[in-house]
C-alpha cells in the first residue's frame, strides 16, 4: 500500500516543524548569521537615499541566500548523520514526497528568517520593505533558493566536504534567481513603473516552476545508492 504523496509530504513537514520548534537549531543559526550580516553592512555602507535603495536589495538577497545555505546544509545533514533518511526511503511513499516535505520545512524556516532580515533592514537602512509586491518577491525568491538548495543539499550531504560544496554548486544555479530577485526588488523600491519590475517577477515565477519540476524528478536519482 502506497502512502499518498500529500499525506507523506505533510507528515515530513510537520515532523521538521515540530523538531525545529524544540531545537531552533536551523532558525537560530540562520537568524544569527543574517542579523550579523545586516549589521556589518549597515555599519560599512554610509549612503544617501538613492544609493541606499540600490544597495538594500543586494544586502537583503545576499543575506538570505547565505543564511539559507547555512540552514539547508544543516537540515539535510541532520537526516543523513542520524541515518534517518534511510527511514524515509524505507517507507512506501514516493521519493518526490520526501523532497516536497523537506522543501516545505526549509522554505518556511528560510522565509521566517527572510522576513526578520527585511524587518531589520527596514529599521537600520530606513527603507520600508513591507509592501505587498516586495513580499511577493521575497516569497518567490526564497522559494526558488530553497527548491535548488534542498535538491543540492540532499546531494552534497553524502559528502565529507558538504559545508563547502553546497555553496559552490548552489550559487551558479541560483544566479538567475538572484538576478531576478535583486532587480525586481530594486525596481519596486525605487517606485519604478509596473512594466519595469513585473517581468522580473514573471522570470522568478517561471524559474521557481522549472526548478520545482526538476527537483521533484531528480530527487529520486540524488538519493539513490
Amino acid at each position: 500500500m502506497k502512502t499518498p504523496f500529500l499525506a507523506a509530504a505533510m507528515a515530513i513537514f510537520r515532523k521538521d516543524a515540530l523538531a525545529e520548534s524544540r531545537s531552533r537549531e536551523l532558525i537560530g543559526a540562520m537568524g544569527l548569521f543574517a542579523l550579523l550580516d545586516v549589521l556589518i553592512f549597515s555599519f560599512a555602507l554610509e549612503l544617501n537615499r538613492e544609493a541606499r535603495i540600490e544597495a538594500v536589495s543586494g544586502v537583503l538577497w545576499v543575506t538570505i541566500i547565505f543564511a539559507s545555505i547555512l540552514g539547508l546544509n544543516r537540515s539535510m545533514a541532520m537526516e543523513r548523520d542520524q541515518g534517518n533518511l534511510d527511514v524515509l526511503l524505507l517507507a512506501p511513499l514516493p521519493r518526490s514526497a520526501i523532497f516536497t516535505g523537506k522543501l516545505l520545512g526549509n522554505f518556511l524556516f528560510t522565509l521566517l528568517v527572510g522576513m526578520a532580515v527585511a524587518f531589520v533592514i527596514t529599521i537600520l537602512f530606513n527603507v520600508p520593505l513591507f509592501s505587498e509586491w516586495l513580499l511577493m518577491v521575497l516569497v518567490m525568491g526564497t522559494a526558488g533558493f530553497t527548491i535548488v538548495g534542498t535538491l543540492l543539499a540532499a546531494m552534497t550531504a553524502q559528502t565529507r566536504a558538504r559545508e563547502t560544496l553546497l555553496p559552490i554548486v548552489m550559487l551558479p544555479l541560483a544566479v538567475p534567481l538572484l538576478l531576478a530577485a535583486v532587480r525586481g526588488t530594486t525596481y519596486i523600491l525605487s517606485e519604478a513603473a509596473q512594466g519595469e519590475w513585473l517581468p522580473w517577477l514573471s522570470i522568478l515565477a517561471v524559474l521557481d516552476i522549472i526548478y520545482l519540476v526538476l527537483g521533484i524528478i531528480l530527487f529520486e536519482f540524488v538519493v539513490e545508492e
Binding site: 499525506a7 510537520r14 515532523k15 523538531a19 534511510d86 524515509l88
Partner: protein, 236 residues
C-alpha cells in the same frame, strides 16, 4: 514459494564487487543469522533487500514482488533495525511513532493503540512522552524495534542490532527477536555474535567477500562450532 529470493545477485561499488552472484532463498517464518567479517557484504545485502540500495545485477523477489519495479509494495512488508536507532532525537517516543505511522499511512487511532501496546511490551510505556535524546542507547534500540514493528511487517531485517547494548539491553533485544519469531515473522539478522546467531536463528549463513560459504540449519551448530568454522573459513 520462498518469501525472500535472490538469483545471481551482484553489487559493485565502482569496480569493487561487494556481492558476487548470490542466490538465496528464505522461507516464510525462518529466522536467519547472517555472519561474516567486516566488509563481507552483510549490510550491503540487507540494504539491497530493503530497496535502499540498487543491485548491479541479478534478481530480488520478496513476497512475489520484484525489485526495483515493485519497490513500494515490498517496502510496506519490511521493518528494518540498524545499528543506528534511526529515530528523531528532538521528538518524543510517541511523536516518533506517530510520524512513522503517518509515513506508512496507518489509521491514527489504530496506530496509537498499536504503539501503546508495543511500547508496553518493550518497557517504554512510561517514557512515551519523553524526548528520544534523553533515552539510553538500549532504550533507543528498543524503540527502534517498536518503529520497525509498527506497520506489522512480514519481514524484519536486522543489521547488527546488538551493537553498543549492555547485557540487559542485549537480553531484552533477544526477547523481542524471539517474540517476533514466535509471531511468524521472517527475520534476517546480520551479526558478528556467534552466540546470538546460535541462540536466535533457525538457519545460519556465512558470507565471505560477497559469496555464501556456509548455509546450515542452526540446530546443527552451537556457538563454539560456529566460531571454529568461522575461524577456519573466513580470511582475516
Amino acid at each position: 514459494m520462498p518469501l525472500i529470493e535472490t538469483e545471481d545477485l551482484t553489487k559493485s561499488f565502482g569496480y569493487v564487487p561487494v556481492i558476487k552472484r548470490l542466490t538465496l532463498k528464505i522461507e516464510r517464518g525462518e529466522c536467519v543469522a547472517l555472519l561474516g567479517a567486516n566488509g563481507s557484504g552483510k549490510s550491503t545485502l540487507l540494504r539491497m533487500l530493503s530497496s535502499l540500495s540498487k543491485a548491479t545485477g541479478g534478481v530480488i523477489r520478496i513476497g512475489g514482488w520484484e525489485l526495483p519495479r515493485e519497490a513500494t509494495s515490498i517496502r510496506a512488508q519490511i521493518g528494518m533495525v540498524a545499528h543506528k536507532p534511526l529515530l528523531y532525537e528532538n521528538l518524543t517516543a510517541a511523536e516518533n511513532l506517530q510520524f512513522f505511522g503517518r509515513l506508512y499511512h496507518l489509521d491514527p487511532v489504530k496506530n496509537k493503540i498499536r504503539a501503546d501496546i508495543l511500547l508496553e511490551q518493550v518497557g517504554l510505556a512510561r517514557r512515551a512522552n519523553d524526548l528520544v535524546r534523553t533515552f539510553s542507547r538500549g532504550m533507543q534500540q528498543r524503540l527502534s524495534i517498536v518503529r520497525a514493528l509498527l506497520h506489522d511487517p512480514d519481514i524484519l531485517l536486522l543489521d547488527e542490532p546488538h551493537t553498543g547494548l549492555d547485557q540487559r539491553g542485549v537480553m531484552l533485544l533477544n526477547e523481542l527477536i524471539m517474540a517476533a519469531r514466535a509471531e511468524g515473522r521472517t527475520i534476517l539478522m546480520a551479526t558478528h555474535e556467534f552466540n546470538h546467531a546460535a541462540l536466535l536463528a533457525t538457519r545460519i549463513l556465512i558470507l565471505e567477500r560477497g559469496s555464501m560459504i556456509l548455509d546450515r540449519p542452526a540446530a546443527d551448530l552451537d556457538s563454539a562450532q560456529l566460531a571454529a568454522i568461522f575461524a577456519e573459513q573466513v580470511s582475516a
